[in-house]
Amino acid sequence: MNNANSISSRRQFLRGASGFVAAGLGSALIVPAWAQEATSNAVAAAGTPRGGNYQNILILIELKGANDGLNTVVPYTDPKYAEIRPKIALKPDQLLKISDKEGLHPSLAPLMALWEQKELAIVQGIGYPKPNQSHFRSIEIWDTASNSDDYLDAGWLARTFRSAPVPAKFAADGVVVGSNDMGPLSGLGVRAIALADTAQFLRNAKLARPNQDTRNAALRHLLNVENEIVHAAGKLNANYVFKTEFPKTGFGYQVRTAAQLVASKAGTAVVRLTLGGFDTHAGQLGTQANLLKELSEGVVALKAAMEELNMWNNTLVMTYAEFGRRAKGNDSAGTDHGTANVHFLTGGKVAGGLYGQPPQLNNLDGNGNLPFAVDFRSLYATIIDQWWKADSQVVLGAKFAHLPVLKT
C-alpha cells in the first residue's frame, strides 16, 4: 500500500485507496504468468535439463550480406573456376596455398599463422536443403536453425539457453556488439544486451531502473531491456588495459569491445560481432579484399587478446552468413545470391584442417548454384553438445551429425 505522508486532500486519499486496488490486482495479474512459466519449466525439467558448460565462450562473426566463399577459399586447380568467373577469378599465384587444391584469398594472410598452428578449421559446402535466396529469410533460417519452410520465433541460442540455462550470476546470456539486430539471441526472454562500447554502456546504464511486468508486448520489451541493462551494468567493467593492439577499423573496435567483455569476467556465453558489406553484386574484387583483410586482422587480434587473458582454450570463434554467393559470376564483376558457402572456426581447442566438401563446380544446379554437403545445423549441434555439453536434439528438434572440429 502507498505510504502517504498525510491524507490532507481528497486526491491523496484516493491515491491511498487506489494503491490498495493496485496491490490486489498487481499480484493477481502476475500469477498467471508465473504459473505458466512454472508449467513450461516443469516440462523442460521432465525432458533433459543438461549441462551448460558456459566457461566456454562462443564468439560469432556474422559476415553480413553473404561473403563470396568461392573467392575466399579458391579451388584453384579446377579449370571450371576461371571459366565461370571470367571477370573476378583470382589467379593461382595470388593465392595462399593450403593444399594442392585449395588456396586462400590473399587478404587472409594474417590467418595463415592460425592455419599453420592447426587452430583454423575451414568447413566447405555449408548450406541447407531447399535454400532460400532472400537475405532476410535466409538469415532468419540460420538464426532460428529452422527448416527452409518452417517459421520459428526464437533464435537457436535463445533455445539453447532455455534448455540449458546460463548461470544467473552472468552479466548476460549473450552480448551483441556493433549491431542492433539480436539475430540468434532473439526471443524466449533471453538476457541479451547490445552495446557498441562497454564504458559508454556503463555510463548510460545509470539512467535505467528495474521494473515489473505487463501485458502490452511493446512495453514488456521495454521493461525487459531496462532490467537487462540494470543486471548487466552491475557486472561489467572496462578496466582492463590490453597489451594487445587492436586494428583501427570498425571491426577491430568490435573485437576490442568483445575482449573487454571477457576481461571484465562478468560472464557471458556468447558474443556476436558483425562485419557488413559482403553483398557484392557489382565490383566485388576490391570490396571483398578490404573486408577479408579487416576480418582476418580482427580475428588475429582477438586470438592475441584471448591468449593475454589466458582464455584462448575457452574461446571458440565461428563465422556465418545467410547464404553463399552464386558460383557463376555476373556481368557487373560481382556475384548474385547463391547457396552453399565456406566458414571458419578457430580457438585453442579447434582441430585445424579442411572439413566438408570442396565446391562441386561441375555439379551446379539450373541457376548456377552449388550443392551443399554440410547442414549448418551440424555446426550448431557440435557447439551445443561438445562445446557447451548441452543437448542439441532438444534445441534443434532433430539429430544433426557432429563435425570433428574440436579437439577431444
Binding site: 502507498n2 505510504n3 505522508n5 486532500s9 486526491r11 491523496q12 486519499f13 484516493l14 485507496a17 487506489s18 494503491g19 486496488v21 493496485a22 490486489g24 490486482l25 498487481g26 493477481a28 495479474l29 504459473a35 505458466q36 508449467t39 550480406g65 532472400s134 529469410r137 556493433g178 539480436m182 544486451i193 547490445a194 552495446l195 557498441a196 562500447d197 559508454q200 555510463r203 548510460n204 546504464a205 539512467l207 521494473n211 515489473q212 505487463t214 502490452n216 508486448a217 511493446a218 512495453l219 520489451h221 521495454l222 521493461l223 531491456v225 531496462e226 541493462i229 548487466a232 572496462a238 583501427k248 577499423t249 570498425g250 573496435y253 568490435q254 553484386h281 556481368d331 557487373s332 548474385d336
Partner: protein, 590 residues
Amino acid sequence: MLALAGYTCKRYLQAPFVHATVIELSFKISVPYRSEEIIMSISKLVKSKRWIPHLVLGVSIVMTVLAAVFASVLVALVLPASNTFAASNSGAIGADAARHLLSRTGFSTAETEIAKLAILTRQEAVAKVVVPADESALLPRPAWLDEKPLTQKSLAEKTREAQENYRKVNNEWTMELRDWWVGNMLQTETPLAEKMTLFWHNHFATSQQKVRIAHLVYAQNSLFRKQALGNFGTLLRELSRDPAMLIYLDSVNSKKEAPNENFAREVMELFSLGEGNYTEKDIKEAARAFTGWSVDRENGKYMFRRGAHDFGKKTIFGKTGNFDGDQVIDLILARPEAAQFITRKLWREFVSPTPDESEVKRLAIVLQNSGYDLSKLMVAMLSSDAFFAADNRGVLIKSPVEFVIGMVKTFNVKPPNVRPFVLQIALLGQNLFLPPNVKGWPGGEVWINSASLLNRKQMLDRLFGSEDRMESVMASMDALAEMNGDKLPSKDARMARRMERTMGGVHMNLPAVAKTFARPDGDAAMRRVVLPIAPVNAPRVVNTLNAKSDPMAASAAVNAVTAPSATGLGEEQALLALRHLVNDPTYQLK
C-alpha cells in the same frame, strides 16, 4: 454487480486524476466490460486445458472487479463530475482520442494540438490529419540542386582524388538533405504527409551509400512526398523508373542476355506481394520484363535502353504476354494480395503490431476498389474502431524520428539549427537515406535494445536533467578515450561525441514548459501530453533533499511532491513530475 464494475472501469479511463496504476489496470479489463462478456471469457478459460493459470486469472478478474467497484465508489463519493475534457460537441472524440490520433499521425502531442482535435467528430478529426503535403510550404531546397548532379561519369578527371571528392561532396550534400527533411518535419503543417514520406522511404528502402548521387536521393524523396497520400500504383510505376532505386537494386546494367533479378525479386517480396505469393520463376520472368530500365550515367536521369530490353514472351502468375515492367506492375496490382500486403504494413505502422486479418481484408478492398488511392485507405483505417480501441493505445514503439521530433515539437525545444537532431536520429538507429538494407529498418521492438534505449535516456537526461551533468559526461568520455589510447573509436562513439558537442547549443526552457502545468488539472493534462498510457513506475516516497543532486532520485521523489494539493501542481512539482514522466518506459511508446 459485474455490469456495474464494468461501467466503473470504463469510467476510470475517463477520470484524468485517478491514480495511474488504477488507470492501467482498469485498461486490462476494460474490453469485456459488459457482464455477459466477462462471464463468457471466464467460462472459456475454465473450458481450456491449461486451467491452472487461467483459474488464477479468473480469480484475479473477480478480484479486479471487486476492487474496481470499491474504488469506483470512492470516485463517485469523493470526486463527482470532474471530467475535465468532456467535450461540448456530443460526437467529439475528446482529448484522449485526440492525443492518440496525434501521436500516430503527427509528431507533437502538445496541449494546443490536442485541443484542436478534441472538439471534432472522428470523421472531422481524421479529415484534418489526412492531408497531402503542400509543396509550396516546404523549406527552400538546397541551392546545389539547381546545378548539374555530380556523377562518376561527369567527373572531368578520373583521378583518385576526383573520385574521393565525388564521394565527399555527395555525402555532404546528402547531409544537407537530412537537415532539409528534418527541418520540414519540424515546421510542417501536414505531419502525416511527412510521416508517409518516411514510411515510403522505409518501404522502398534505398541507401545513399550505394546510390551516392545526392540529386537522385532528393528526387526519390520528392517522389515519396508527392505520392505520400497519393496513388500506390503510380508510386510503384514511378519507382520502377527511379534512378536511385535502379542503381540501388542493380537494374542499371540489367539486359536481355543477363537479366538482374534483384529489382524483380524485391518488387514482389518487399514492395507489393510478400513472400509466398509468387514463385522463383515469376521473378526470373519479371526480371526480363524490366531489362533496359536504366540510368543515363552522365546526367543521372532515367533512360530506356531499347537494345537491352527483352521484348519476348514472358509468363508471370500463369499469364503469358510480351510484358514490360509497367505491365508486370499491373499484374501485381490486380491481385488482392498486393492490396492486403500494403494494408497490413500500414496497419503495423499506424494501428498495432498485430494486424486484425478481417479488418485488413476489409480495408484492402477499400484500397483496391479506389484504384489504390492511399488517402482513402488511410481515412478508412484511421476512422476504424480498431484504431481507437483502448487495447491499441500505447502499443507501438516510437521510431527515432518520432522520438526526437516528437520531443522537440511537444516541448518546444529551440535549437540553433537542426543538425543536432539529424545526428541524434542517426545515433538512435535511423540514419535517414541510409537504411541498413533493402528491407529498411525493421522497426518495432528492434528500435529498442540496451544500447539504443540508453542513448534515448541520455538525450532525455540532457534536456530534462540539470545542465552541468552534460559537461561531466563529455569530460568522462574524453578522459576514458585518452586512458584507452583510442585513436579511432567506433563509428557510434565518434558520432556520440560529435553529438555531445553539437547538442551544446540545444536548450529547452524546462521551467516554462513545467509552468504551463502548474494548475489545478495540471497533473492529468501533463500525463496526457507526455504519455500514451498510464506510467509504469509505481510511486515511491524518498527524501526530496536528494532530488537536488541526483536527477534519478528526483524522478523517484516526484511522487512525494506531486501529491496534489487543492490548487493542483506547483511549479517545482510540475518540473519534477515532467522529469519523472519522460523517464518512464511508456514514454517510448505511442
